[in-house]
């Protein structure tokens, strides 16, 4: 930890314990007396929201596993058994299925916040990379989980994604069969996906601990993007200041969560997944869950199988090297007028890719003569921009942009001596 421990054991027992296993000291130094910049805004509450989401998913998941049966014969029926017969089963299952979407909403907000305020920049590169790793693990976990109800989308999603590995030269075919344990997605596949779906959240939890550790070494970034100079003036204690703010943010987030669980529980899902998997019949339009749509659009934008797979994984891989692509000396977009505009364009591009991923690739958007400008064309433009944003704009903007003057200190920025518009 970067700051001095302020823990003083209050009584005999805690003194005794502190000399043997200083767990209270750890908690105190990490979540009570830990100093946080006093200018953090609500975008910074999503760390707490994400911890909450992970905990909810693990708890409800363990409960669902008590009733779920991972065989192709019974998986669909066992999920419906949970929905119909198990006490509060419908509630637990809807919390879990919508919880996945909530988790991704929160993680996207968290990541875009990092991009906006330059939280990935030195000295927080490792913190950022661990975050991207969590994101990758989340996608894998969500994918495994989506297969379990054994509906049409489960089956065909699993088929399509595992077939991606078939694109790898030489070993692709063997790798794919190995993943399946069969000659198509079948019982062995479902069983191993269930096992991995149970395992991965605990891997996520492990990386989250590293992520929080790394955060506490460097300290938090903040909306001003400048480092803490005088802890007395620039920071407040994590508890109660940050905890109360996090609790309030979380409470608001839970209203959104509850809306979906209770009043629109299938709004984020696909109707096709209420049709039991049929290996003989592919649904007319197969789409992944909404949180994977942008990557699905990138995959489809490339007319070559291997090329599509490479680009899709590249879109995530590029996030790992982000800290070294950015040449700007200033972190926060508040003081980077050019970057700020391109940031919002990038947000729109990502949403656009998500739109493309959900539409039929040959859907005509602007009719021209016989054909016209279709979804695939749009995906290609947006995919190109996605990569240009990181590979070209990131290095170039930092060199040509003239940042606004930074506030003297975090305390000063709170008091309003920062440039009026942010």
């Amino acid at each position: 930890m970067s700051h001095q421990s302020t823990y003083t054991p209050g009584n005999g027992f805690s003194r005794w314990m502190d000399e043997r296993l200083p767990v209270m000291r750890l908690v105190n130094d990490s979540f009570v007396d830990y100093p946080v910049p006093k200018n953090l805004n609500y975008w910074w509450t999503f760390g707490a929201v994400l911890s909450f989401c992970l905990a909810v998913q693990i708890v409800t998941g363990i409960v669902l596993a008590m009733h779920y049966i991972p065989t192709t014969e019974l998986a669909f029926a066992s999920v419906e058994h949970i929905m119909r017969d198990v006490n509060y089963g419908w509630l637990i299952r809807y919390v879990h299925s919508n919880g996945a979407s909530m988790f991704f909403i929160a993680v996207y907000i968290h990541m875009f916040r990092g991009l906006y305020y330059g939280s990935y920049k030195a000295p927080r590169e490792v913190l950022w990379i661990l975050g991207v790793l969590i994101y990758l693990l989340m996608m894998a976990t969500a994918f495994f989980g989506y297969v379990l109800p054994w509906g049409q989308m489960s089956f065909w999603g699993a088929t399509v994604i595992t077939n991606l590995f078939g694109a790898i030269p030489l070993v692709g075919e063997a790798l794919r069969t190995w993943l399946w344990g069969d000659f198509a997605v079948g019982d062995p596949t479902l069983n191993r996906f269930f096992s991995l779906h149970y395992l991965f959240p605990f891997l996520i939890a492990g990386v989250v601990i590293l992520h929080v550790w790394a955060l506490h070494v460097t300290g938090q970034n903040n909306p001003a993007g400048i480092e803490v100079k005088d802890p007395k003036k620039d920071t407040v204690a994590f508890t109660p200041y940050a905890t109360m703010k996090d609790a309030f943010g979380l409470s608001i987030f839970m209203i959104l969560f509850a809306y979906f669980v209770f009043f629109n529980p299938n709004g984020l899902g696909e109707p096709d997944n209420y049709i039991i998997a049929d290996p003989m019949k592919t649904p007319a339009h197969i789409v992944p869950e909404w949180y994977l749509l942008p990557f699905y659009a990138i995959l489809r934008a490339v007319p070559d199988k291997l090329g599509g797979v490479v680009l899709m994984f590249g879109a995530i891989a590029i996030l790992f090297v982000l800290p070294w692509l950015d040449t700007s000396k200033v972190r926060s977009a508040r003081f980077r007028p050019l970057y700020k505009q391109f940031f919002w364009i990038f947000v729109v591009v990502c949403i656009g890719l998500g739109y493309c991923g959900g539409q039929s690739p040959d859907k005509i958007l602007i009719p021209v003569g016989e054909g016209g400008f279709d979804v695939t064309d749009l995906s290609r433009i947006l995919t190109t921009y996605y990569f240009l944003h990181f590979l070209v704009l990131f290095p170039v903007l930092g060199l040509i942009e003239k940042p606004k003057p930074l506030p003297e200190s975090i305390a000063a920025s709170v008091l309003g001596s920062e440039p009026a518009k942010s």
Binding site: V86, Y88, A247
Partner: protein, 179 residues
Amino acid sequence: MAQTHAVEPTRRDFLYVATGSFAAVGAAYAIWPLIDQMNPDASVLALASIEVDISNIPVGQESTFKWRGKPVFIRHRTDAEIAAAESVDVATLPDPESDVARLRPGPSGEIDKKWLVVIGVCTHLGCVPLSYRGEFDGYFCPCHGSVYDTSGRIRKGPAPTNLEVPPYAFLSDSRIMIG
């Protein structure tokens, strides 16, 4: 100014206590579904009663039926077995209970002493006793040697109580509903 200062702490404390308690109540409610989901579900409860046909159990024999995952013994007792069950001094038993108190009235309202219905689970640690075995020709538990008589009452061994009588009723002379 000084006055507001004096009032402030209690008001503040009240707000925090109220917020904390309110959150705690919500958390407690949220935990209940996670606990209740482990209770028997609707499909289990729907199977909680069974109807059995007893017309083909001859005198001096016994049939076993599965009810709530456990065996239920239905014994068509001989006169000798009934006599043995009735002859014992109830007060001397480890778990005093008369034979007739362990039987249920038939469709006519009168107790037919021929039919004994007990749950075939030893009250010691849950093993299934063997029928027509042991000193009293009732039941003998092979796990730890508990001995039951022809009324399913504990007579010897570590079991603390008599074999349990399930809730049941005669639907007719030949049909019993258990549960």
